[in-house]
Symmetry: C3
Subunit: 131 residues, 3 copies
């Protein structure tokens, strides 16, 4: 079985510290994504829905780059700063992930970067079998 890294994230700039995605056979792990400009370490918006769409767009792009997609997602972890954003999160979740939807866990927590309102982490299958 092959371990394969995709992309690279560099919090604070410089060399890539983190892979965007890592596959192990046909199982795909994505890094937690945030609506943060990794060069400046500033959030791209103060609005929850804008942050959430940015994060989900990043997840979809990372899934596609590895030969997967939201329709192959298995598990999604969502970290929210504020519980009051739960309804909007549910709305966007239903929009981005087609039925039958993945399993999910949503908790409220803090983040390393000021202004972050959401972080999302995806585990998915790669449908075409072991890479």
């Amino acid at each position: 079985m092959t371990r394969r890294a995709y992309g690279g994230l560099a919090p604070g700039g410089g060399d890539a510290l983190i892979s965007t995605a890592m596959s192990w056979g046909n199982l795909l792990f994505l890094s937690g994504r945030a609506a943060v400009d990794l060069k400046t370490m500033k959030v791209v918006s103060d609005d929850f829905e804008e942050q959430a769409r940015n994060v989900l767009d990043q997840c979809v792009e990372a899934l596609r780059e590895a030969g997967s997609g939201p329709e192959h997602a298995l598990r999604v972890q969502c970290y929210l700063l504020n519980a009051e954003d739960f309804d909007t999160w549910n709305k966007l979740w239903a929009e981005y992930f087609p039925a039958p939807r993945p399993v999910r866990t949503t908790i409220c927590t803090g983040f390393a970067v000021p202004g972050m309102l959401i972080e999302v982490e995806v585990t998915a299958g790669i449908a075409d079998g072991p890479q």
Copy 2:
């Protein structure tokens, strides 16, 4: 390898937003479970042990429905609201998961639904091989 969804959870009522469990070959992912009535979005009890037993019973039921069980659990994530519930959590953990017990991570965090004291998420194997 086949992605297969089991059950469905509908926070706030309506259509199922989240699968109860999702298998990928013989690896099984469960949604984070809480002691919440999903129709009313109210917790079923204010007592930690009652919430925890409700959550663990839900996990066992979801594992069994997918051809797995607590004796096949691989990893358990536990989210507690209050650190003082850790001893009770350890007691119930030992009761529900037979030795050799899964790996585990327990952290203290907040939740989207008021009154929630615990959320538990399970990853397990399906012993009879790829479904």
Copy 3:
């Protein structure tokens, strides 16, 4: 496919409550590790870097015992008490995990044991195939 448990952790002393690692085929799950003396349930140091090195050393040891290693790590979850420790965490991360580095999620949260500053959980591959 075989479920195999490695080691054992006993928070508060007594019998092992938690496996150190659990493999399922060639996929390896580690328990969340903390810089805590499990007999006394006290942290081994009040210094973040000392706690983080202790935790990462434990992770490397557990990976090696199961026939894996940091070079086979797929996903790492990091839980920090304080956001200001993020830069030190990034420095140690780069030291312990060789490129291409695993995917990662870092959030700020609380812990069950007073004085804990960091907890780290690793998912890895076992390179030599199913055990």
